[in-house]
Symmetry: C2
Subunit: 484 residues, 2 copies
């Protein structure tokens, strides 16, 4: 055993790892989607860190014995929780290549290929999504791959603070900044506001449109005007295309028109649903996006790409570096100083970065853009069918209209909302405890709701049908119990 790497040892071990992954994925449906394990049981079962080298087989055996049985199988075809985390096997291939190359793409000079492959990808993908050319590097904007939509929201907020007052870099925040969201906006915006030192006082939760959940442009206009009148500064508004709770699509165009009057930055959080714009028939979700400053959608949710790959575009390609750049001597280099290159470290909070573009490029290469569209359309069609079953069944009701591949439902007991809440929760618990499928929940207008997010890479009609059967059986049992 040498302390240097041996590519031939790797070749042998990696083939075994590949087989392990292929076998795990081939057999994934046999596992309970969510494990039933006690806190601390995994820690107690893991072996201590060894002093001396151990055979690699033993690691794979430990995965089988300890890790897999305590894993929530996000890649299971019966995983319908939260939003999907698509780690397609094509993206696994791309990620292997990225880790194998071992690049560190903090600056163009520290790996030109890492930076330019990403630039090429985000420019091309902007076109495929139907984003205006002003979001591309070619058109004066640009894009990047952050680790998460949370980080995308944070850097958009920092760019907004900088644009609102460049003195922010020296003097810090002033306390008069205001950030506008809806009650449905993802919690990452509230977290970004906290991280950025603004405090929750800066977060204005705008009323929804009457009878719905979308952020109301009229209420936004009133809130912004009142704040501006009170000497406060509207800095950013975040409309969502496909909220986490209900898949609500905020009216981006009208929101952006209101925001413009106050010079506020508009950041669109389309983490889950934005990728639907790859399909011309769903491109209307982007209506008004030409008026916004930044747009984020995650390739690691519904676009077949393993964590972490959050796509962020801005119309002003200098906005993020202006806000975030800070150059110590040891990072100075002629390429950066020429201004002819992009240094992605200035587009994010961390300094170091992986070659994330490869995993998404591998997916698109292997499936083609048409394969991506087929993936999305398949899930949307399944959700449409599923929503039809809910609507037609007296045991259930849709909590909100279906949004793309997300269906939100409640159990109907006929004995009032609180009984419906309890029954809905019990149905969710029964389905999840069975291990045959996993769904998660939210609360809408104070009422408990089951969310069915169709979107795992291998989910097909048979899994959605099985989920429906499970829900119906659970509802029958719960309704029978509640009547007895």
């Amino acid at each position: 055993m040498t302390d240097r790497d041996d590519p031939e040892e790797f070749r042998a071990l990696a083939h075994a790892v590949v087989d392990w992954i292929a076998d795990y994925r081939a057999g994934i449906a046999a596992h309970p989607v969510q494990p039933q394990v006690e806190p601390g049981s995994v820690r107690a079962a893991l072996s201590p860190l060894p002093e001396r080298p151990q055979p690699f087989d033993a690691l794979l055996a430990e995965l089988d014995r300890v890790v897999v049985p305590a894993t929530t199988h996000w890649q299971s075809p019966s995983f319908f929780g939260y939003f999907p985390a698509n780690a397609s096997l094509h993206s696994v291939l791309g990620d292997m290549l990225s880790t194998g190359l071992g690049s560190q793409g903090m600056m163009w000079a520290t790996s030109p290929a890492c930076t330019e492959t990403e630039q090429h990808l985000v420019d091309e993908l902007a076109g495929a999504l139907g984003l205006p050319e002003t979001f591309t590097f070619t058109g004066g904007g640009g894009g990047t791959i952050e680790d998460s939509a949370s980080s995308s929201a944070l850097v958009a907020l920092l760019a907004a603070l900088h644009r609102a007052d460049p003195g922010w870099q020296t003097d810090g925040v002033r306390g008069d900044e205001r950030i506008y969201v809806s009650a449905e906006t993802h919690s990452s915006l509230a977290k970004a506001v906290r991280v950025a030192g603004l405090g929750s006082k800066a977060l204005v939760v705008v009323d929804p449109e009457p009878g719905g959940h979308a952020l109301s442009p009229d209420a936004l206009a009133a809130a912004m005007s009142a704040d501006a009148g009170a000497g406060l500064r509207p800095v950013l508004v975040c409309p969502t295309i496909g909220t986490t709770g209900t898949g609500t699509i905020d009216p981006v165009r009208r929101i952006a028109e209101v925001a413009r009057e106050h010079g506020a930055w508009v950041h669109v959080d389309a983490a889950w649903a934005g990728v639907a714009a790859l399909c011309p028939e769903h491109r209307s979700v982007l209506d008004g996006v030409e008026l916004v400053d930044s747009f984020c959608t995650d390739a690691h949710k519904w676009l077949l790409t393993a964590l972490d790959a959050s796509l962020l575009w801005v119309q002003d390609g200098s906005a993020l570096p202006a806000a975030l750049s800070l150059t110590p001597e040891y990072l100075r280099n002629p390429a950066s100083e020429s201004g002819a290159v992009v240094d992605y470290r200035d587009w994010q909070v961390p300094l170091g970065r992986r070659f994330r573009a490869l995993k998404l490029r591998a997916v698109i290469h292997a499936r083609g853009l048409e394969g991506l569209r087929a993936h999305l359309r398949g899930h949307i069609a399944l959700a449409e069918e599923f929503a039809g079953w809910v609507t037609a069944d007296p045991r259930f009701t849709l909590a909100v209209p279906r949004s793309l591949s997300l269906v939100c439902l409640r159990v109907v007991t006929g004995r009032g909302s609180e009984a419906d809440d309890a029954a809905t929760r019990q149905v969710l618990e029964r389905v999840n405890a069975s291990g045959s499928a996993f769904v998660s929940h939210t609360v809408v207008d104070g009422r408990y709701v089951i969310r069915v997010a169709i979107g795992a890479v291998t989910t097909g009609p048979e899994h959605v049908t099985a989920l429906w059967d499970q829900l119906c059986a659970a509802a029958d049992a719960v309704l029978a119990e509640s009547r007895s």
Copy 2:
């Protein structure tokens, strides 16, 4: 071609990918370490995103044709720049397993194994490093794996702000916060201060100890007292164990004693050098660490683990969740509410997270802790030898004393400091342009310095000798030119 994953297709393609990686690593020394490419050339050479599926071979061919020739080969044995980014092949295996599992470990409930494997790893590793038990979950503290030391510094700062004034969550920063660093502290601290909304006015650069570069505890005491007397609040001080420029080790114990008098949080940035504490003979680098609040060292620099894996420990296991937690309805679950589990989303800025622990666990499994120590000791011994050559050679001088595996040198022209600066820069440019090795630079006390960071996974005596020969040849040429 189906739009679902096919594990058998993956098995075949992944074996080809494994061979590609093994071949790339086996032949890596044949590439120029830093490519000579023009900005834009990679973007121009990449194929557009295809509409229809393409054979996977074509992607590998494009890597060979476009990507590899424009890659800075961080895994080359002749890469001596910045700090190393160890993507050992054992860590590649672990990362493959992580991506293959496709877990999303934002909360314990979303994959108990992902969370507890990480808890187990950081607890065990704390022991191996000689951190006090109070940094472990077992001892009331705890650790996590962030993406980068930059993010570790940011969350430590946020925890410090919260501890200093919990009203921070509602009211934001106050403007009276002060953060103490040295001129050698990594720029990520200044970035964290900016991100957190404090502005550069909050950043106090403390004088060094006389005749050195380490942060002076006496100067810190004076600065903190003066600030406190002026009504400002010392919130955090960041000593570094192994600064990026020169490898300087700040006197952590005395700094922490000063900080305690003012209730300031002490965050130790040991991103590069902290791992040396695995070796008992280097454990003194941690002297005083029992007095600090948080400690960070990167497994992805010098501990054989592919990006991204920054290890962060805190003595108060509730500090990060207290500062960062924020729970929307759709993330509520019984395990979290029981208080019996750790939800790592509350230890970081992003929500989603990869199963990062596996890649480090794979490394330690395959090499044993003794293999890690051998890796570190080998580089330190090489650096010691290299520093001896520098000291003995009239063409060169050490700019600062060797620190572990980092050697900082200058060319000596005999014609004054400015001539030395110019010659040193020319030598660096010649070596890097040759492609046979890569070194980076910094500026120390206003003088240009070549940094030789020995630490790539496959670097051995032959590569260090070759670098020395290159430096000598370049110095001869530069000195001859300057005399002519």
